[in-house]
Homo-oligomer: 218 residues x 2
């Protein structure tokens, strides 16, 4: 009962040269596009080569295996999350009170994370989803313009909180795991879990409630 939808495929670029020019990049971009619309399982090597207008095995000049391509896509997805967080952070107005500013920063981090999960679900699942293979290491992706990954961005915001005196230093260790847990969990309940399909305003409200809880609870 599997519907076979014949999506109109992007016409392969009809290369005139024998060499592609920048195949590695093209494959990576195709991979990211696949991940964007279908999550990590959708990153299919053959499809990436099709989109790049190249024969399947050509990929092996640039990636050792499908896993290697997926790894690169994962890193890119992680960078995208970081960028989204930084954007949210930048949108924050830093008025006077440093404690207030620090709290706002933490909230921005969380909000950016949740927003990304909802608007770029495929990439989000690619960045943070279960590793397909047990033995694939997490991608070492410094990312975003700050060069920090999402986890480090959160850490920085929490440090800011401590510096502003809004979080007792003895509560700092491990705090990123607690905050991350809460936000990550909500993101998954929304995109994959029982909250799927809940209207955006409601999930946003829930997100704010959650951030309240974290703020108070830390």
């Amino acid at each position: 009962m599997e519907l076979k939808m014949s999506v109109p495929r992007p016409v392969p670029p009809a290369r005139s040269t024998y060499r592609h020019g920048d195949l590695r990049r093209a494959l990576l971009e195709a991979g990211v596009e696949l991940a964007r619309s279908g999550g990590p399982e959708a990153v299919v090597l053959r499809e990436a080569t099709r989109r790049a207008g190249v024969v399947p095995n050509a990929a092996y000049r640039h990636f050792a295996s499908r896993q290697a391509l997926l790894q690169a896509v994962r890193a890119a997805a992680l960078a995208a999350v970081a960028t989204a967080m930084e954007a949210e952070l930048a949108a924050q107005r830093t008025d006077g009170d440093p404690a207030e500013a620090a709290r706002a920063a933490v909230r921005a981090i969380g909000t950016g994370y949740l927003r990304f999960a909802q608007t770029e679900t495929g990439l989000f699942r690619t960045a943070f989803g279960a590793p397909v293979d047990v033995e694939d290491a997490p991608p070492e992706a410094k990312s975003g313009q700050s060069g920090l990954n999402p986890f480090e961005l959160l850490g920085a915001a929490l440090d800011q909180l401590v510096a502003a005196g809004a979080l007792p230093p003895e509560r700092r260790p491990g705090a990123e795991f607690l905050a991350w847990s809460a936000v990550h969990g909500l993101a998954l309940l929304i995109i994959d879990g029982p909250l799927r399909g809940m209207p955006r305003e409601q999930t946003d409200a829930l997100g704010q409630q959650l951030l309240d809880m974290v703020e108070k609870g830390l």
Copy 2:
């Protein structure tokens, strides 16, 4: 570079009768076993029939499709989570103070959830993992001896908290989503995420910290 490990297969039961007797149950149990050791993707119809000592298409007498089998396995996994929570709940001593008892109940729920995630990772991922197909409905699984699913168990504990005066009633709505988010997120960071491989005492400590945060933050 894929290792092909030849796991010693459980010898099929060598049926003497033509009829199997209880194939549906056998397939379900095989499916659960597969999920236990490999998560939802490991629930492979052909493998289940192999283990039941039956030809592949025999499965179709009892399940309309692989999806249907997986759905049944999911329901069983959900029931197992509920049972684990109830066990943790039962282990709690109910001394005098009802507020204290209610708090202990909530913690027990959370602890049971986290413990299950760590000891039965495959089943946990099957119960709560991303749906393979967009259109598969969540399994309607009343479960455990109480007949409540994990979500309902949490709800009941929170109600108890309100009844004991330990949680203002106006904070009650949506509280299960917040608490669940936190615990669910931590579970995933531990089993799939950056906390993978962290020693058990540390994850347990983190779990308790997290429950502190939830308790205070709600």
